[in-house]
Symmetry: C2
Amino acid sequence: MKKFINDPDNLVSELLEGYAAAYAKKIKLEGNNLVVRATPKAAGKVAIVTHGGSGHEPALSGFVGEGMIDISVPGEIFAAPGPPRVLDAIKRADLGAGVLFVVLNHSGDVMTANIVMEMAAKQGLNVKQILTHEDVAGGPKSEPENRRGLVGCVPLYKIAGAAAEEGRSLDEVLAVAEKFNDNMATLAVALTPASHPSTGEFIFELPEDEMEIGMGQHGEAGTGRMKLKSADETAEIMINMLLADIEAKAGDKLLVLLNGTGATTLMEMFIVFRKVAQVCAEKGIEVVRGGCDEYLTVQEMAGFQMFAAKMDDELIALWDAPADTPYLTVSGK
Amino acid sequence: MKKFINDPDNLVSELLEGYAAAYAKKIKLEGNNLVVRATPKAAGKVAIVTHGGSGHEPALSGFVGEGMIDISVPGEIFAAPGPPRVLDAIKRADLGAGVLFVVLNHSGDVMTANIVMEMAAKQGLNVKQILTHEDVAGGPKSEPENRRGLVGCVPLYKIAGAAAEEGRSLDEVLAVAEKFNDNMATLAVALTPASHPSTGEFIFELPEDEMEIGMGQHGEAGTGRMKLKSADETAEIMINMLLADIEAKAGDKLLVLLNGTGATTLMEMFIVFRKVAQVCAEKGIEVVRGGCDEYLTVQEMAGFQMFAAKMDDELIALWDAPADTPYLTVSGK
């Protein structure tokens, strides 16, 4: 493994210290390595809290700031944090209007979240949970428990965070976040494996001439290992699976994001995006907003996650609303 | 080579088409694949134009937009565009106050720029050129012709672009850009090679246990091939070379950027940034602004460029001024 690290046991504390040094105007560390906004949200507004393993930078903590997450609780590499830190985050974040707790569907994250929600109920905290589970490789929408939470959490933070900044109530923020959650889908493809930075071992293997569709974020097996395909062929297979899942039809408006997982270049993502836009246009579906970036990575894994969501005017306005975080800033103009 | 591409001959036209589809609110293509702002700058303000090879996404065209570049002229992969397209860009960009033409010191880019400047003079165009050459691996400041232009162009677009948006004259924009140019330095380190997307060939080779400091952006040899070092050791070697080059001393304020060149994770860059901040603090130098991101990549090459610039109040205000481009947005708050 060729990586710039020091002691593998200190990865997370060192990376958080560096992150806070680089973006001191926007975020800071508080308590036991909680990532919080440098300038807190106004009192009386709903707060957004999330948790999840490290090693996926910039996610999740890269999106702490105005208009997105109030407090992120990073775990160790690829591992959920324990319940006490998350409970502490929820208490610190609550500004009098309650907390929306965003959880990605991975067993460790869900286990922590279940305990947190039990403890929060006992302590009378005002917190509601939303679970993201938009990986279409896991199965149909009717089996949400089998669908992993992938990059969809990032635009969901944006939608929920913008609704919270507007001063909506906790029930209202939850409702619009659930609307977005019900209309989004993601599918991943991998070309090369990632190495675990603590052990130096590859987390899976792929032959030199193959790719795998449906990969999870930690090397979980996908649904289709196949010979390497062109950008256009790959784009077509993936966008059609997403459009079927969200039941997109002519006249619908989409947000499409391509999330690079590590070594895949923006050059490649732009070429794939071109074909996605063409396929949608042929079906009379309009890609009204887009993005190609590394939002949630899997170390140096070559590949990407393709995300699509059906948008209405309310969701588009929330996506366009101002945000000011280290890895997603929207001017609001 | 495992990359999502179609016909290698169409890489640049396809990637630009996808880029314009993904960021239609911010940029569009005009003329012969010129990347221009979707909403033009107000008349009477200085325009910023730049040119350079593709394959380095998001640079250079990722920074077209309010507060940065007005028109970018992308060449083929790792190759400068020809003079006619650049001259066309300069004519289109001029809003009555002239054009600042930002050129990176690479032989192809400089050859094109020299012809462009000759043609512009003959045609009576109001354009002034600034050459970036901040790679400390090329030699001392007294030999600028040997120093390549690396990621420093990106913050320079930000400084010059903000000055132009304020309504400063061409001479004034050039002067503040030159002040920044004189006080900035970059050094690159590579861990793994990049493959050329047109040929599939690696552009250089590196043994499994070595790294190379001073790499150029196209596989140009560096100054120091050495055994792989820890993040802290690497950070210390590199920041000390940069601080010596810009003659930073106690009391100085710095902008420090770490530019991932491809496969290197943000996790690693944060860990390196932590040590850079520590080294500076020990010397009484304050890192007042920072950033870790992929600004100018070299395909999937693992490694990064470390950038540092001495900042005064004027430069900090220009760095903090609003910008709205696909890959750098500043809210201005």
